[in-house]
Amino acid sequence: MKHYSAFAIAREAFRQHTGWGRAWASPEPRKSYDVIIVGAGGHGLATAYYLGHRYGIKNVAIIEKGWLGGGNTGRNTTIIRSNYLQDPSAAIYEKSRSLYETMSQDLNYNVMFSPRGVMMLAQTEHEKRGYLRTERANALQGVETRFISPAEVKKLVPIINLDGPRYPVLGALWQARGGTARHDAVAWGYARACSAMGMHVIEQCAVTGVTSENGMVTGVNTTKGHIGCNKLGIVVAGHSGALADMAGFRLPVESVALQALVSEPIKPCMDVVVMANTVHGYMSQSDKGEMVIGGGADGFNNYTQRGSWHHIEETVRALVETFPMISRLKMLRQWGGIVDMTGDRSPIISKTPLGNCFINCGWGTGGFKATPGSGYAMAELVAKGEPGPLAEAFSMFRFREGRFIDESVAAGVAH
């Protein structure tokens, strides 16, 4: 693998950039692997990366039905934060956020992690009390957050309207070390690192079945034939239900389309990420200058990765209230991604009823921020066969037991 640096670019510039090789190889699958990860999105690739990096398991294939990073990794609004209320959530999201801080250097691939700060506006007394509670919890969880005053909000976000006629801004929960990253680059960076470790990233290869013997997984049937494995990790977000079905179990997950949009690019006018949960909308400005906007999920289960309309109107109205100056900007593009939602809006990193088959799903509307932490915890589960402390609370069996990790308490909005 060629090392990336300014020096490498300069050297290549003098030979017409002919020296760059593939960022990741495109091999034909072997007959079998120690571990197969289904799903080459951020979470699947991160899982593979940490299997190799932390546990030395490198005989790994990551199988992807389409192009890698083409699911929610390439469709989300790139927000990274860890200001969660419940202990297990705060632990894994904070681990994830901290891994993002060094990801560019760890992967030698600039994922443009930008710790520009994330704020969640409090627009009712009730919401304010909720964020004060989160602030208190975060302090004990090792997550740096602070409840800030309306004046501080205005200073950080000059375009905000504090005195909206409907919901005045009463303050905000501020996580200075949250931010954004370049979503595609996360997948590409991991794929490159996995490939460099000798792992196989196999694109355009759909899994059509899971094979097993005596209750233990033996491999997967794919459009490129049967591929054997000792262990199987399913990391396919919106299509988890379909894969679980192949593996012979059911998941407490529903899939819905989450809507997002961007404006045309403009010069920098907002440096931080703002989430307004009472009115249901959030916005940040990408490095390219586009205002990146997200809001609600469709009110019905579906697999269409399309933008639907009514939520867009609601979200945009909320944001025009919050940031009136955007009224004369234009929406460039809208799209949808399929998010897998659990009953408590928290993820699943779990053993399954099928032996040596593990699943990582249910990240719902907030999976991007968890990418490295999710991979880190999932790799431990796959490598050891038992969850470590980060994953322990996220068993798929918790719903049967009533052990919810309910984050809707703190964040009722998609993110």
């Binding site: 490498a8 090789g21 560019s104 509670r133 004990l140 109205r317 009953g343």
Partner: protein, 1004 residues
């Protein structure tokens, strides 16, 4: 230099001058033309700077596909960035300025980027800016952000003064695109009797046909267009809309139309934009086609334009992009431009045709007009700095190392063939097929977007369908088929016949010369705005970004404000070539709505400002407002948090209100409480399922406090239920929960228990409800007279109906404060009068309204729970020691099974207790009790949390409720709570009921 022609211009009105300013310079145009035409007529060819290299850029196109010529339009609150000059109609007083340069358009220091393109290749930023780590946030990113972006942001305080409108509409057949194909489709559909809507994004009907010299039944296309419009306008079942773009096609025939009502005529009363939300039975896309550029070195210089755009400017607006225009093409169509230029008296040094032979009728016509035609040749490179000064020609099959001819010219008209506009076809899942003749993707009629019935609901016609010859018959068939699919049965007359010249096949030339060397490829632009070049796509392919989506995202090809309208197919072709596979194997990226960017204002529509989420007002709203209400949003209501009097702050006001309610009489506007009538023969059975406690045994005339849980057993809402009669209950819910609970009831009744005879009505707004609270409450009601409210006549937890002080009243003897208390509902229309009467009659008794904060404190002193404070979606009734409200007799109720699960019955659950700080201070909101230990994830271990915390003016100290592990068994124990700034606050576990434990005060 671009200039105005002396004659011609089918769309301009030379008698009407239009004055406007460009970068502060005064200019003049003619009414009827676009800003682009006006600027070119004024000789202005340099119009902006590109995104990455800040290259000088001019107009390329004449319509929605323009990637370069974007300006900031208007001033102050009406300023709008990134406006395409090609779709902006010029008007008197228009002001615009160019974008993305510093310090000026002509002299842009950031153009330095352009000097080192070999460093700034595709995705270079993924490979660098890696160290030192802190530099990304503090150095690299800020610099990148500043140089990126396009238009200036509006001012932070800008408030859009214009209005926007949204409208729902329905039709049988919606035709999008008002060229001749769209007009014919509309006519044929309308003649069947179907309801037809026809949208055209520009200000004119007819599309390209009049410009291209198409004749219809032997006449000019213009004549046919005028006659057809006259016919359509005369039909009742046809709705025509100009300046209305089909923005997006969604499921079930839901189409967004973006009508720019008054952009061209600001200052009128009309809304600026109107968003049509059309539900169409069938859709016909007649959206035309867009010409493709050719990739040759320097193809981005101002003066290099699409051949069709050049023709548009000449024919429509009498503007020539130059004095001398070289035409370069791989097809016959561009010869129309050469002929039009020559007819307008503009020099055409040569047509450079990449094909080995060129023999079509248009070619012959051009030759006959004396135009030099070079075949088998291409442009090696365009000469010039900020504008075109000439072109070097080379053999198309060469590497381009040397030129064969050189022409001086000041403009280049290029044509790389056409691409049908398939966006609207594709938005909702319509598939495409590759056409080997014309080398474009066109709609695959066998795989259209499917409706709920499994049948297609979109058809394409005209060039949008890939038809590059005569279109009227196909359009007629599409319009007719669409109408029939909606059930229409009439038979329209046969269409007219459009005559177009024969065209020889095009040659798939994607790059010229075909074997160009790197130095040339590095200067061939694919995506103008985002500065993506042929060499970038080739690099992406080499590095393994081979999926078309990877290439797009790695290079940013097609991600600019034109969304790849010009660049996509050319980019795909280069990528396919690099991968050695046919173009259809590469596929396309996804077409996403909207077709072109639409204003945020139009999406928000009219529901902004005070009507964004309509404010709900109780009948007493005005009184509160006039009497110092400090408002608190509660759902869509506003309730007084407290009433602040002169010399008071919030805290003092709240304390006064609490104390008064405990000693005299407090009045609370409880009108926001949810009031849902549940009636019918199965009402009792339904209520038993809805509530954890037994409701069917409640006697008429009695009230009962009840709990509602969701399926998981978590407490969702609470309130007092009054049984009105054998088959009717009045359900009181929390203020914020009313709509949700009503929806919840309907969900169960409609989806699960649809055969139960139960009817629900949300009566919340029909009644004003006033709580009269305090030791002197009965005295006040007795003064009003008319009803017996004595202790024996109206017992605690009973209600009665009658005339109270002349008002129709339902009086509930219930208490949420621990005091003697009546909640009185009167019809909403009598609410204010009743309230005023209470205040007047009770003046000497010390009657005084209180707000929501006093309400909270009163209930907290009494240890009553509050939904949303003590509960948060994770709390079951047992956690709050409310086991008494959970029926053990009922077989089932919502949440029963949920609360029987392992973790729900676990002894370690946190349970409700009262908390008192040792020093009397108020515990912070949400504070957690710490054990001093650590979790496996190195978090501080906790054993409880504060759920409600207040200063109690009654007890003169901080009081709190909280959930604590084994709490009720640990009375008297002192816990340590973590406060702000690492403070540790000690608090003792006490009984949550801190006021009148025996309940003597409420039962008097």
């Amino acid at each position: 230099m671009s200039h105005r022609l002396k004659t011609g211009g089918r769309l301009i009105d030379r008698s009407r001058d239009v004055k406007f300013t460009f970068n502060g310079k005064h200019m003049k145009g003619f009414a009827g033309e676009t800003l682009a035409a006006s600027l070119l007529a004024n000789g202005q060819t340099l119009l902006g700077r590109s995104f990455k290299y800040h290259r000088p850029r001019g107009i390329v196109a004449s319509g929605a596909e323009e990637p370069n010529a974007l300006v900031g339009l208007g001033k102050g609150d009406r300023y709008e960035p990134n406006q395409r000059v090609t779709t902006t109609e010029v008007f008197d007083g228009l002001t615009c300025e160019t974008q993305n340069h510093w310090p000026s358009l002509d002299f842009d220091l950031l153009a330095v980027n352009s000097l080192v393109p070999q460093f700034l290749t595709a995705g270079f930023y993924y490979k660098t800016f890696l160290r030192p780590r802190a530099f990304w946030k503090h150095v690299y990113e800020p610099v990148i952000r500043k140089s990126a972006g396009l238009g200036k942001a509006p001012s932070p305080d800008a408030r859009d003064p214009d209005s926007y409108e949204q409208i729902y509409a329905f039709c049988d057949v919606l035709i999008i695109g008002g060229g001749i194909a769209g007009l014919q489709a509309a006519l044929s559909a309308a003649e069947t009797g179907a309801r037809v809507a026809l949208w055209e994004q520009t200000a004119h009907w007819g599309g390209r046909a009049p410009v291209d010299g198409v004749t219809i039944d032997g006449q000019d296309a213009d004549a046919w267009v005028a006659a057809t419009i006259a016919k359509l306008e005369a039909m009742d079942n046809v709705h025509l809309r100009l300046r209305c773009m089909g923005a997006g096609v969604h499921d079930h025939g839901y189409v967004l139309g973006y009508e720019r009502v008054s952009d061209h005529a600001p200052g009128t009363d009309a809304p600026r934009h109107r968003l049509w939300r059309m539900r169409a039975g069938q859709i016909v896309t007649a959206t035309g086609a867009i010409e493709r550029p050719l990739s040759f070195a320097g193809n981005d210089l101002p003066g290099v334009m699409l051949a069709s755009a050049v023709r548009d400017y000449v024919v429509n607006y009498a503007v020539s992009p130059g004095q001398s225009v070289v035409v370069v093409t791989n097809n016959d169509d561009a010869y129309r431009t050469a002929i039009a230029l020559r007819q307008a008296g503009v020099g055409v040094p040569a047509v450079v045709d990449a094909r080995a032979e060129a023999n079509g009728p248009l070619v012959a016509e051009a030759r006959a007009a004396g135009i030099t035609v070079l075949t088998g040749k291409g442009i090696r490179k365009v000469k010039g700095g900020k504008k075109v000064t000439g072109v070097e020609i080379c053999r198309i099959d060469s590497k381009g190392t040397a030129f064969t001819e050189v022409f001086d010219c000041d403009a280049v008209a290029m044509s790389g063939g056409w691409s049908p506009v398939v966006h609207l076809w594709s938005h909702c899942g319509g598939k495409l097929v590759w056409d080997d003749t014309h080398h474009f993707f066109r709609p695959d009629a066998s795989r259209p977007p499917l409706g709920a019935d499994g049948a297609g609901f979109v058809r394409a016609c005209g060039s949008a369908d890939g038809e590059m010859g005569a279109v009227l018959m196909g359009a007629h068939e599409a319009g007719l088929a669409a109408a029939k699919a909606t059930g229409a049965s009439g038979t329209p007359p046969a269409p007219a016949t459009d005559q177009v010249p024969d065209m020889a096949p095009m040659d798939a030339v994607w790059m010229m010369p075909r074997n160009a060397e790197y130095d040339l490829r590095m200067k061939m632009w694919l995506d103008y705005q985002n500065d993506v070049k042929v060499s970038d796509v080739q690099l992406a392919a080499r590095e393994g970004y081979q999926s078309v989506e990877h290439t797009k995202r790695y290079t940013t090809l097609g991600m600019a404000t034109d969304q790849g309208k010009l660049s996509n197919i050319n980019g795909l072709a280069i990528l396919s070539d690099a991968l050695g596979q046919p173009i259809p194997a590469t596929g396309t990226t996804t077409f996403r709505p909207p077709y072109t960017p639409i204003s945020i204002g139009a999406i928000a529509g009219g529901a902004t400002g005070p009507v964004f989420q309509p404010l709900r007002r109780t009948p007493l709203y005005d009184w509160h407002a006039e009497n110092g209400a400090d408002w608190e949003p509660v759902g869509q209501w506003r309730r007084p948090y407290t009433y602040i009097r002169a010399g008071e702050d919030r805290h003092k006001a709240v304390n006064r209100e609490v104390t008064n309610a405990r000693t005299n009489i407090g009045l609370l506007d409880a009108s926001t409480l949810g009031k849902i009538l549940v009636s019918g023969p199965d009402a009792g059975r339904f209520m038993d399922m809805l509530y954890t406690n037994m409701m069917s045994t409640l006697k008429p005339g009695k009230c009962r406090y009840g709990l509602m849980c969701n399926e998981n057993g978590f407490l969702m809402d609470d309130g007092v239920v009054a049984r009105l009669s054998d088959d009717a209950f009045l359900v009181h819910t929390t203020s914020g929960g009313a709509d949700h609970v009503h929806g919840w009831m309907e969900d169960w009744l409609q989806c699960e228990w649809w055969d139960w005879k139960v009817h629900t009505v949300n009566l919340t707004e029909q009644f004003a409800q006033i709580a009269v609270v305090g030791p002197k409450a009965r005295q006040l009601l007795e003064r009003l007279g008319g009803m017996d409210v004595s202790r024996d006549a109206l017992k605690f937890m009973e209600w009665s109906e009658g005339r109270l002080g002349g008002f129709d009243a339902r009086v509930f003897r219930i208490s949420f404060s621990g005091e003697l208390s009546f909640e009185i509902a009167v019809p909403a229309s009598q609410g204010r009068a009743f309230w005023d009467r209470l205040l007047a009659e009770g003046a000497d008794l010390g009657v005084m309204p209180y707000g929501t904060e006093a309400l909270h404190i009163l209930r907290a002193e009494k240890g009553f729970i509050m939904i949303g404070d003590e509960t948060d979606g994770t709390v079951i009734p047992q956690d709050l020691n409310l086991n008494w409200a959970i029926s053990k007799k009922k077989d089932d109720f919502l949440g029963k099974r949920g609360m029987e699960r392992e973790a729900m019955v676990h002894p370690d659950r946190w349970k409700l207790v009262g908390l008192e700080t040792l020093d009397g201070s108020v515990l912070p909101h949400g504070a957690l009790a710490v054990t001093g230990g650590k979790t496996a994830n190195k978090q501080a271990e906790t054993e409880g949390r504060v759920t409600s915390t207040y200063y109690s003016p009654t007890l003169k100290r901080g009081i709190a409720m909280g959930l604590v592990r084994h709490g009720p068994n640990r009375m008297g124990e002192v816990l340590e709570f973590a406060g702000p700034n690492d403070a540790r606050i000690k608090a003792r576990i006490v009984d949550p009921v801190l006021y009148d434990k025996e309940g003597a005060k409420q039962d008097v």
